[in-house]
Chain length 321, copies 2
């Protein structure tokens, strides 16, 4: 499921740190060497390298990378090198502080991470920013979006597989009523999406489809969450549902839109590749090929260049393709 490739025999964290130090020294920076190390180490190994680097040279590896690298490549290397929870905290921070209604990053983090992982993000947020994630989200959003996003980022969903089928039935009905009334900001609708366990929600969405003849996210445009395709709040609700039903499908679309835009959306591309390389990038690649008839590595090659391209390809496991 992950695409990250780690060699069977990996040097010690100290040796890796030493090689990175070499990559920074002398005239110019050896980006190839940086990629060959960092893009082939898992989260624990990267953390150990960062620790060894700090021990050996008295400097944070991320600071050193920041000094040596530039532009999209720099951003991607920095995001990738961070631990997952710290990386998500940084993405959530940027998203909350510069929040606008079309931004889906908070939704993505709140809805695709496991409950424990989301807690780790909230802890990393405390450590890094000296305040809480929900505090920033509440302070920088308003109205309906605040009503939706604060419970979403604060949720600690139950993760057992138990499903209450009669609850799914009754809540599918509630969702349908609200959607028919176009009461998208209704507190019952938000409560259901923000607090129920994911298996419970999937059962509710299935029941919705069975009972009302169309998926909650699609098809009958008068009575579903696509009623107004330009409404950004509806877009947010659909994103939550997609993230819960099938994160890799959600991410395939983010990558597709990032690449197919006039001018690549490097921010989105970098975010998906760095956050999913150790999770489900291989599924995202499969879905991308099915949906676009072009392999993702080909599409990335066409749209990106240089070290940035090389890093992305390494992280999606297609370095030599």
């Amino acid at each position: 499921m992950a695409t990250l490739s780690v060699p069977s025999s990996v040097p010690s964290a100290y040796e890796d740190a030493e090689q990175l130090r070499k990559a920074f020294s002398g005239w110019g920076t050896n980006e190839k060497l940086i990629i060959s190390i960092l893009a082939h180490r898992n989260a624990t190994q990267r953390r150990n390298i960062r620790q060894s680097y700090a021990d050996a040279y008295g400097e944070d590896l991320l600071k050193a990378l920041d000094k040596e690298l530039t532009n999209d490549f720099e951003k991607a290397v920095l995001l990738w090198t961070l631990e997952p929870a710290e990386r998500d905290a940084l993405l959530a921070y940027d998203s909350a502080r510069k929040w606008h209604p079309s931004d889906v990053v908070l939704i993505e983090i709140a809805s695709t991470r496991s409950s424990e992982d989301l807690l780790s993000v909230r802890k990393a947020y405390h450590n890094r920013y000296k305040r809480s994630l929900e505090e920033d989200v509440a302070a920088h959003t308003k109205g309906d979006f605040r009503k939706l996003l604060v419970p979403l980022v604060s949720s600690y969903r139950y993760e057992g597989s138990e499903v209450n089928m009669s609850l799914a039935k009754s809540e599918a009905k509630v969702l349908h009523e609200k959607i028919v009334e176009k009461a998208y900001n209704d507190e019952e609708l938000i409560r259901i999406l923000a607090t129920r366990s994911k298996p419970q929600l999937v059962a509710t969405f299935n029941d919705y489809n069975n009972a009302f003849g169309n998926p909650i996210n699609k098809v009958d445009r008068t009575q579903d969450l696509k009623a107004d395709p330009k409404d950004e709040f509806l877009h947010a609700l659909r994103a939550i549902i997609k993230c819960i039903i099938c994160p890799e499908k959600y991410y395939e679309k983010i990558v597709r839109l990032a690449i197919s835009k006039m001018g690549t959306d490097e921010g989105a591309l970098t975010r998906v590749v760095t956050t999913r390389s150790e999770v489900d990038m291989s599924k995202i690649k499969d879905l991308y090929y099915k949906r676009n008839s072009v392999p993702l590595d080909k599409a990335i090659k066409k749209d990106t260049t240089g070290d940035y391209e090389d890093l992305l390809l390494a992280l999606i496991g297609q370095e030599d393709a």
Copy 2:
């Protein structure tokens, strides 16, 4: 600060379990023996006793206690024996499922526990009830109370001591505006109370007092949260503020009201004694004496009887008084 007294030399958990087993056997139950053990063991020791009891006799100690004991004594022993996070999960569950506007238990748990402890309660809730705390709170509350309680129980407040004084100033102004407008359910007011760190909120309340000439919770009845003393939502807001400013003062009042009622409120008395004995019961006792000119143990003796009385006195450290 705690009143729990643990002897300097404590028997092994297995020996304690054996003694408890003896207390249950034969004709009648030896309540004195149960108190002499459980009321003098800290949370870790009680957990170990529970484990040893299960290992030795193949039965959960709580089930055995449940069979042997009755009424208020039973409830108090069971609550006390649980680990703090599990006990809070149980209290929160009962409160959420039978929720009514005057119930302050959810507020108390959400506002007096540390951020980490509140997370532990949420984890214990998953384990015990196979759903999330916020899910039950959201499903069993409505309207303004839901708007207040869901973010409150889901919060993971930052716990550093950093305070932003200009933010305190501007948010004190926001709170004052909303209170003057009687917009008590305003989302900005709720956001501030539910998400800011406790030191930040204390600074905000101090600034409120300085800028507007009366504490946010008191005195000028036209412009504060006592404007309508019978309004249950205002009562809830005041409870949050009290819990944040000074938990022991909040608890002194709960105990005072529990005892001074016609007919003691054993539920509240048991809750405060079992949840605070290992935390700040000694401060609560001091405040109680200052406020009522009667020592708490005397007041408890007057209002309770038998094993229930003995257990409470043991937990507030006044067994031989």
